[in-house]
């Protein structure tokens, strides 16, 4: 009997390599060859510094999008946390407490977002649009529209600090990646993130309280934003109420570029890292070529569109072959 029945064995299917790998490689090579000054070590460090903040906030954004959500308030929240951080420092409270305040603000906002989205079921893009306005508003009120200059030199020193030649912000960002990777791939929480996006019913059938974990995703986002504020303030040695608005676009773009989909809980954390680097490379190259920031945004948008279209074409081809 055993011999006549075929053992249906499955080898791990080779998933198609996400386009981001090819895209980033092509872009990097093109930049190295075509853009003067790109390949210098100073410039590479520059890119690293420039994308460090983006990387930190793109990490939780990956989780949010994996869970079929979206967070448009990240940029405004980052500015707000930076303001809180800078002002707390200004009150003479020291770095640790300032960071704590920043993280607290971030996590509270995350809780707010999460509660409305997960518990009340409101559409994420509208909720976070509202939170964007509120966070921006609070930042404006706190600063009266002005920048908060930081008197405490330790922040800028921290920013400029290097370990083995690698700037602290880059290390900080890599730590953020490591933490998120650990969370996403080595904890139950991470497994449930995929389930919330992929098949929420499976979680409910298994008796898991999906709502609580769903809210936790946004709280985690708030935590990371609060931490990223440290780097932001270090970079500019001040905090402006609108300094980071618009970063959410780059974060979402990086996540999408990296292969994370808006449905079905499909995604790749390292892909987001590659997406962040790609955007950093693109912007840096365009900068060196003298192309202004506004057109850089357009370029990022077009790049994302291209990658999305290519990925969906490849996917439909695979599905066609399967069926």
């Amino acid at each position: 009997m055993e011999a006549s029945v075929e053992r249906v064995s499955v080898v791990r299917t080779r998933r198609p390599v996400p386009s981001i790998v090819a895209t980033s490689a092509v872009l990097a090579v093109a930049a190295m060859l075509g853009v003067p000054g790109f390949a210098s070590s100073g410039n590479v460090t520059n890119i690293g510094l420039q994308v460090s903040i983006l990387l930190i906030i793109a990490m939780p954004m990956t989780l949010v999008i994996l869970s079929e959500g979206l967070d448009l308030s990240v940029g405004a929240l980052l500015s707000l946390c930076a303001v809180v951080f800078a002002q707390t420092l200004g009150l003479g409270w020291g770095m640790a407490l300032a960071l704590g305040a920043s993280v607290a603000v971030g996590m509270l906002t995350g809780l707010f977002n999460g509660a409305l989205i997960a518990k009340l079921g409101l559409p994420p893009f509208v909720v976070t649009l509202g939170t964007l306005g509120i966070a921006h508003g609070i930042a404006l009120v706190l600063t009266d529209g002005n920048a908060v200059v930081v008197g405490n030199p330790s922040v800028a020193q921290l920013y400029a600090w290097t370990i083995l030649g690698i700037p602290f912000p880059v290390i900080f960002a890599l730590l953020a990646y490591a933490l998120t990777h650990l969370l996403l791939y080595h904890t139950r929480f991470g497994t449930y993130v995929f389930a919330i996006g992929g098949n929420r019913d499976a979680l409910l059938l298994a008796g898991i309280k999906a709502k609580a974990f769903h809210i936790a995703i946004y709280v985690f986002g708030g935590l990371m934003v609060g931490l990223a504020a440290l780097v932001l303030v270090g970079r500019m040695n001040s905090a402006e109420p609108a300094s980071a608005i618009g970063m959410e676009f780059d974060a979402i773009a990086a996540v999408v570029l990296g292969g994370t989909s808006f449905e079905r809980g499909e995604g790749w954390l390292f892909g987001t890292v590659m997406g962040v680097v790609t955007i950093g490379v693109l912007r840096n190259a365009l900068n060196l070529l003298g192309i202004e920031s506004s057109l850089q945004v357009v370029s990022v948008g077009i790049l994302v569109l291209l990658v999305v279209v290519i990925d969906s074409v490849r996917k439909s081809r695979v599905n066609g072959a399967k069926a």
Binding site: L70, L72, L116, L120, G121, L122, P123, F125, V126, V127, L129, G130, T131, L132, G133, I134, A135, H136, G137, I138, L140, V141, T143, D144, G145, G246, F249, I252, F262, E292, S293, S294, L295, Q296, V297, V298, V300, G301, I302, V304, L305, V308, V309, S312
Partner: protein, 335 residues
């Protein structure tokens, strides 16, 4: 025990007052909005003498009209079950282009044509992205927002353009019979839009698509074609709003449209249009615009620090969303 009984008694009495039982749902919504408008107006009239002055009231109307021009297109899109985040950026780019044309010597007519072509094209592209590429509306229009905004930044190069021909400026600042021109435009658009939604097959089909697009499709409605149409109309309305706004402020810069996005969305939601599609009206949106205009005017008159305004608007938006969703109940959303 008796407290419970008493409150139940009172509640049943109060709920009998609920107009909804006597009039249709839509009319009830409008009545509530009208009451809200009167209430806010009264509060403001009490709070500051400057409110009741004719110039101020006309200003409120003007502001509401402008918002309505922008909101009308978005209302149609939301009615059909979609969304358009790019309307403000669309307005910015179209206005900047028009300003550029006039500055380099072009006639207002040419400027208007440029603005309208650009804005309609953006709308069309949104429509195609949503129907052909099957991108979720908020995502596609969010991307469009940034691309268009980036183009506007690039075009303006960080500068302002100001000083336009008087003939053009009357569009935004002129009066006719003591009433600002934009108000006439608003009425015109309101009538037109109401004809579309209430008097054209097209309008009825939009509601059907918004309520349940699969049912609409299986009932023989050409859903794709209609969706492309509403996004294109939204684009067109952004262009019209751009011209009026440009005429009013007599200046163009790359950030001019941005502060309009949240108030417009809040106005539409307050006006009773559901985010999930299939329910709402343009008259409702108009009332929402009036309410938002009153709120903004109130903030200015009461000398509320400009820094508080985004906070207020953001909160208003969230409250409006909450009211929309909770008011309709879970079942109706999925309906």
């Amino acid at each position: 025990m008796s407290i419970l009984n008493n409150s139940r008694f009172v509640w049943s009495r109060v709920s009998q007052l609920d107009v909804r039982h006597h009039v249709g749902e839509e009319t009830a919504t409008l009545i509530y909005r009208a009451v809200l408008i009167v209430l806010i107006a009264l509060v403001l009239a009490f709070a500051t003498a400057a409110f009741s002055a004719a110039p101020n009231l006309l200003n409120v109307l003007r502001q509401a009209s402008l918002m309505f021009l922008l909101a009308s297109g978005l209302t149609l899109v939301i009615l059909s079950g979609g969304f358009d985040l790019s309307i403000a950026a669309n307005l910015t780019l179209s206005a900047c282009l028009a300003a550029g044309v006039m500055k380099t010597g072009g006639s207002p007519i040419l400027a208007a044509a440029t603005a309208l072509s650009c804005s309609t094209l953006i709308g069309l592209l949104n429509g195609l992205a949503v129907t052909l590429l099957r991108l979720p509306p908020f995502l596609a229009t969010y991307g469009m927002l940034w691309v268009v905004q980036g183009l506007a930044f690039h075009y303006m190069g960080g500068n302002e353009i100001y000083g336009f021909p008087t003939a053009f400026r009357t569009l935004g600042t002129g009066f006719l019979g003591g009433i600002p021109l934009p108000v006439y435009m608003m009425v015109f658009v309101l009538i037109g839009a109401t004809i579309v939604t209430g008097g054209l097959n097209f309008g009825r089909e939009i509601y059907a698509i918004g309520a349940n697009s699969e049912v609409a499709r299986l009932s023989g409605i050409p859903v794709r074609r209609r969706k492309i149409a509403v996004y294109t109309i939204s684009g067109l309305m952004s262009g019209i709003a751009a011209l009026v706004y440009l005429a009013r402020v007599n200046a163009a810069d790359s950030a001019m449209g941005e502060p309009l996005l949240l108030p417009v969305i809040a106005a539409i939601l307050i006006g009773g249009t559901s985010l999930f599609g299939g329910a709402g009206s343009l008259l409702g949106t108009l009332s929402g615009c009036v309410i938002l205009a009153l709120v903004i005017d109130g903030m200015n008159l009461l000398n509320l620090n400009a820094n508080w305004q985004p906070l207020v608007i953001g909160s208003v938006l969230l409250i409006a969303v909450l009211a929309d969703v909770l008011g309709r109940g879970r079942k109706e959303r999925i309906g």
